[in-house]
Amino acid sequence: MSTQALSTDQAHGVEHLLGHADDSLVLAQRLGEWISRAPELEEDIAIGNIALDHLGVARALYTRAGELEGEGRGEDHFAMSRPEREYRNLLLVEQPNGDFAQTMVRGLFFDAYQVELGEGMAGADDAEIAGIAGRALKEARYHLLHSSTWVIRLGDGTEESHRRAQESVDRLWRYTDEMLEELTPSRRQSWGQVVGGALHEATLQVPADPYQRSGGRRGLHSEHLGPLLAEMQWMQRSYPGLRW
């Protein structure tokens, strides 16, 4: 985990924080695309709430990263002024929402990861980071309840919902290694048990194809991040330094 790196290598620590902040911001932005389009009103509110939680985590982590970096850069700079290649988010979170099943499967994979991550970071030496992670951990557990409930319901639902859920698992599984390689072996195993348990209950299969993709943490993204950032950043790009 990054906690060691933070106390020994400040620059490395800042980079790590930015990666996690980028995960939260990009996922918040993706989830926001559902607002007014979710299958039912309660889901619209649920997804909006979850997006807000992710946005809040991103803001807190950017702020802390800026303080540790000590160059006067804050949340607005990190979110609105960095180009695609400087974004360090996981490939998983930038993938398009697809249908509702795909969004829930992505949620299951990420929420279970964020629980493992949060449990590790909540013990960070840096009290601010520990506090942010402690809060995010409670939220991630709540998000996981939501996503896993839906994946089970869709996977073990109708023929059509099962087909779509399975296609989503097949499509997104290739982005899980990149995410899990940051976790300790025991946390990786724990993620596997949580996700595997949910998929099993949902009567869904983990793809046999071992193909995996990575690169997000090094700034090498899929084609989907650019348009997302273009939409999110256009105002600061058009009017640099603009303030409300």
């Binding site: 309660e42 979850i50 807000l52 809040g56 985590v57 601010e128 980071i129 506090g131 809060r135 939220e139």
Partner: protein, 166 residues
């Protein structure tokens, strides 16, 4: 905020600066913008009020990471402290320790229930704020704000918000 609870005689001996007392009173009266029957002090959002030099420093912490009310709360604090006669005001947001619904005061729990919101219940017992019947049905884990879930009473049929345990 122990000083606020001391008797007048005791306050003379501990010599709380009169400005601090005024600042704490003003900050303590700021209500939550989304649940205006309770104050931010009641909810455990207001963590500290201090005088540093001539400046008032109010410290707050968010309930949820994504609580959209934080900016409004900061504005409301500035307004309340300005009206109390302070011109140098700093509002600091801290992340540690992470907020917990255990910090919601007993008084606030009663106010929430009277307002129609089932208060956080560590024992997990949720009563309908209208008819006091137990075992309501959960409609959605996500309610009108991040800190609430949407319930419906199985006895009187009334829908209501429940303040979640966190």
């Amino acid at each position: 905020m122990d000083a606020a609870q001391l008797s007048g005689a005791a306050m003379v001996t501990v010599a709380v600066p009169p400005g601090l007392e005024r600042a704490r009173l003003a900050a303590g009266q700021v209500v939550d913008p989304e649940i205006p029957v309770v104050t931010i002090a009641d909810l455990g959002i207001l963590r500290d009020v201090a005088l540093v030099g001539g400046r008032v420093v109010a410290t707050i912490t968010p309930t949820y990471s994504g609580c959209p009310a934080m900016a409004q709360i900061e504005d409301d604090l500035r307004l309340a402290l300005t009206e109390a006669g302070f011109d140098q005001i700093e509002v600091v947001t801290i992340q540690d320790p992470a907020w917990s619904s255990d910090w919601v005061t007993e008084e606030a729990r009663e106010k929430l229930a009277r307002f129609g919101i089932a208060p956080p219940s560590p024992a997990g017992e949720v009563l309908c704020p209208r008819c006091r019947a137990a075992s309501p049905h959960e409609v959605s884990r996500f309610g009108s704000t991040a800190c609430k879930a949407l319930m419906v009473c199985t006895s009187c049929g009334d829908p209501f918000d429940r303040f979640k345990e966190y």
